[in-house]
Symmetry: C2
Subunit: 137 residues, 2 copies
DNA sequence: AGTAAATTTGCAACAATGATGCAATATTTT
DNA sequence: AAAATATTGCATCATTGTTGCAAATTTACT
């Protein structure tokens, strides 16, 4: 697999086994992953700490982005190519299926702008929709 | 204070000190609170477990609702009066201030509907906007 | 009001999640 | 290939969330 190497090099990160494996998992799964998902799916389990640090690094570099949840389990998903360190462009809606529990990036659904009350200055917006996904309905 | 008693009775919950104190704190603070916020602000600290269980109960009864975050710290906020157990109507936008870190319910800002890809059935939506709030800007 | 039944609380113990320092290892640079 | 740099894994610890159970409180009943 060459793609993971490229992603790492583009972001000036050392190319290590752990990073490649975690990236491959993201590419393979398509959707969003929680820390726990990653640990479960790792064939020859990496150290827990390494997973934490890798995810942090990826977020900082803009390789993955965070998805808010109401269940104390942050999800992470790969960013589209136009994300730069500290400057994400992932203003798309996320979908969480009530049935299969998968979190899906709806890359083509843009978060609509909302009119805020006087005095509020928006900087960033997140939107999460729950319901039934394509596969479950 | 009579209001907290009423809220509890309306939801057929036993009227206990802990529940009243936590409700009063929500009424007092106005905004959203995390579990940690509640523990910090409790004059004669309640047991941690009691706080967890009380929040769970309140969510189940529709007295408070959850606000998703990307930092592993669920926030809770009082629901408007038209919420029933298992049947919330809190489809308003939440605002998190980057400066003072407060989470505010924008009760008058309704979450806009979005067009989902074919096959997706929406059930519920959450929207969180970050930026600067009235007090910080 | 007083008592029995039902509910809630607090404690103890535990599980899961996340963070940090440091030596060993792997990667990059020269 | 060796030196410099960066990453990993281990040990340890802090925080957060859960569960079982006895004691205490609240509610319902007479």
């Amino acid at each position: 697999m060459k793609k993971t190497i490229d992603i790492l090099k583009q972001n000036r990160l050392s190319v290590t086994d752990s990073r490649q494996k975690i990236l491959e998992l993201f590419l393979l799964m398509g959707g969003a992953l929680s820390h726990a998902d990653i640990e479960k799916n790792m064939p020859d389990s990496l150290d827990r700490v390494t997973v934490y640090r890798t995810l942090q690094t990826f977020v900082e570099k803009g390789i993955i982005h965070l998805i808010p949840t109401t269940d104390n389990s942050i999800k992470y998903a790969l960013c589209k190519n136009d994300c730069a360190p500290g400057h994400h462009h992932d203003n798309h809606v996320h979908f969480i299926c009530d049935e299969c529990e998968k979190t899906i990036c709806l890359d083509d659904v843009t978060i609509p702008a909302v009119k805020l009350p006087k005095g509020f200055t928006p900087q960033h917006a997140e939107m999460v929709v729950t319901g039934l996904c394509v596969d479950c309905k």
